[in-house]
Symmetry: C2
Subunit: 386 residues, 2 copies
């Protein structure tokens, strides 16, 4: 651990919360970081300073901690003109050796200051700029520089850096309560789950195994779980499954064929609500996006959600498939989701796209849906992913 090279971590929305909430969020954020990164942490007026054991690994891991808006590897020194000058010049020298500072291109120095000092921020910026020029003779351009050097003076410590690496944003996971996420092997539902994790929610993944109408393998769902788990430091990401094949059999045999998909979706929500109670979860997450596939019409959304009384949150409801796929690529679930698998053979050729609520409720009663769903719930089991 190099105590002179802390990583400065910035967090965003937490800053605007009330002092009590803010303290709780900061504590959770620091706890989540410590679970993933071996490090010491100090906190100073809205800034976290991280002293990691493994610097490179820490930089990678910080991209997976929700609540982190951005971070900067820094070099720190005492707030003293001689030390600062020496540190700035060493810092720039090292960058030049790596080819990361070009003395032909214009640069600028920006200084922020917290505390009482006998110099202003502008004076310190000028002082550090002069130190860089003495070393490199590089031109200064304050309005349009190609390289920015940041000097952050905090009381008797001064931090020097040039990078602001974006974090994932959001809120610390574990600050918003638990939700049940309906996750399949497709592209959408893992992205929906990721977005709600990002907003601070603990997640219980609920997967429906449609065997024999699908292959029944758990390989994809386990891989998706493992990928999402990378972002879940400080939270228990759970993975549950129910066997849904017998219920689908009942639907295909006893209900009008066009209605299978509507009954399937309605059943998923109803089961999720029951499991939410056991899990003390307060909402269901799914990957719905209006109009994306035939079944995601407004009439179908209304009819399938009617029998559920806890909120169904659909963070993708207003996104295009291309936008969803881009997020999937970014978070790493896309390559898993596009692994080949057989579609669901219980789906009819012409699924209902304009479900009438009254008809759906009637059929649900006819096939004794409550009883059937109770059987499904009794098949609830954890999938062991590790």
């Amino acid at each position: 651990m190099d105590t002179n090279k802390p990583i400065l971590v910035r967090y965003g929305e937490i800053g605007v919360k009330s002092p009590v909430v803010r303290k709780r969020f900061e504590k959770k954020l620091i706890g989540n970081i410590k679970k993933l990164i071996k490090c010491k942490i100090t906190i100073n007026q809205g800034r976290i300073f991280l002293f990691p054991e493994d610097h490179e690994k820490a930089l990678k891991s910080l991209k997976k901690i929700f609540g982190v808006v951005s971070f900067s590897p820094t070099v720190s020194t005492d707030t003293d003109h001689n030390s600062i000058k020496e540190t700035v010049q060493d810092y720039i020298k090292e960058l030049m050796e790596k080819g990361d500072f070009d003395s032909k291109k214009p640069f600028a120095v920006k200084c922020r200051r917290v505390g009482t000092h006998d110099f202003s921020s502008r004076e310190m910026a000028g002082f550090c700029g002069a130190a860089v020029i003495e070393l490199t003779n590089a031109p200064v351009d304050l309005s349009n520089p190609e390289f920015r050097l940041f000097i952050e003076v905090r009381e008797d410590k001064t931090y020097i850096f040039h990078q602001k690496i974006p974090g994932p944003g959001g809120l610390p996971i574990g600050t918003q309560g638990r939700m049940i996420a309906l996750v399949s092997g497709g592209i959408d539902s893992p992205v929906a789950t990721y977005l709600m994790m990002k907003r601070g929610c603990d997640i219980t993944i609920l997967n429906f195994n449609n065997h024999p109408y699908t292959g029944g393998s758990n390989e994809k769902i386990i891989k998706i779980y493992q990928k999402l788990k990378e972002y879940a430091s400080g939270s228990e990401l759970r993975l549950y499954q129910v066997n849904y094949g017998n219920f689908l059999k009942k639907c295909t045999e006893e209900a009008p064929p066009r209605m299978t998909c509507v009954l399937c979706k309605s059943g998923m929500y109803q089961i999720a609500e029951k499991i939410a109670k056991k899990e003390k979860a307060l909402a269901i997450i799914d990957g719905s996006s209006v109009g994306q596939v035939a079944s995601q019409t407004l009439p179908n959304i209304l009819a399938t959600r009617y029998s559920t009384s806890i909120p169904v949150l659909s963070p993708l409801i207003g996104l295009d498939k291309t936008e969803i796929s881009e997020i999937a690529e970014k978070i790493g679930t896309f390559p898993i989701s596009i692994l080949p698998d057989s579609g669901c053979s219980a789906a009819p050729k012409h699924p209902e796209t304009n479900a009438v609520l009254e008809n759906v409720l009637e059929v649900q009663e006819e096939i004794e849906m409550d009883e059937e769903l109770a059987k499904v719930i009794s098949s609830l089991h954890k999938i062991i992913a590790e």
Copy 2:
């Protein structure tokens, strides 16, 4: 109208729909375009060609038509080697005069072909590349060009272009049914509304006038309405309002003070559901985002939505404030939303953040919420924005 300069318009998700749905979507898209842009339109295997009266205006307007993925101003000519060569050289000449083609930088030609011809796509690309070299002597770099020239051969017509301007994406507005959007003067709800318009939904905006707990001016909501209307070509964007002040008065006087915001939100949903019936709308849209403000906790979301039986869709539920603000900037609602206004003075100092459903339902009964909301609904009126 220049019949040799059509704009090629690409649409995305529509392409994957069944033939019947696709035809309906295409027809709606073309109708929506025609409502906004004076033009002739031809359609050819998944491509729309637009012959506008005002070319510049059309390019601006296409950025506001949902369903348009991208578009390219083209020059067309007959599919004949001499004509193509001449047109390509004229095209490049004009770009050079405007400084949009630099003969020192590497270029590439890409050709797509639909129909039967006595040349391959690759041959045509080579032929056009040679024509450019003859004129400019510019270097070719197929793998990493700084300029790309596209040749699209469709039967006996050939289209030449170099720009792919992104459209807003989404689905043609008017293909997904109507929703009631709860819109205030803030940053979030106009963005939520925009996203659902983008997914093809007709919208009835419902605004709650909280006077005397707010200033009561309709200036902001009218401006937001007008901005959103720019994206609503082919759809009737409606703007309704109810007077909510008396109901808020009842809440502040007769219910526990901390519960005002929860009752206010629950009331909004219940009123929106009633108005949805009149409007034949199938869902409610709002700007909720988990954890963004104290009232948007999971317990509050559950308690406020419980008394509503149609779906509440919250397209921002998984987004950060910075992400929402970026969209607001992009679509032009941000500058309106940040116009100064007084906050709502009915909000208590310590609003409930952990609402208990049973308590909320009990209080709703105590204050005879149904009767109060009926009075609110009787104040429903259109706001005349134009």
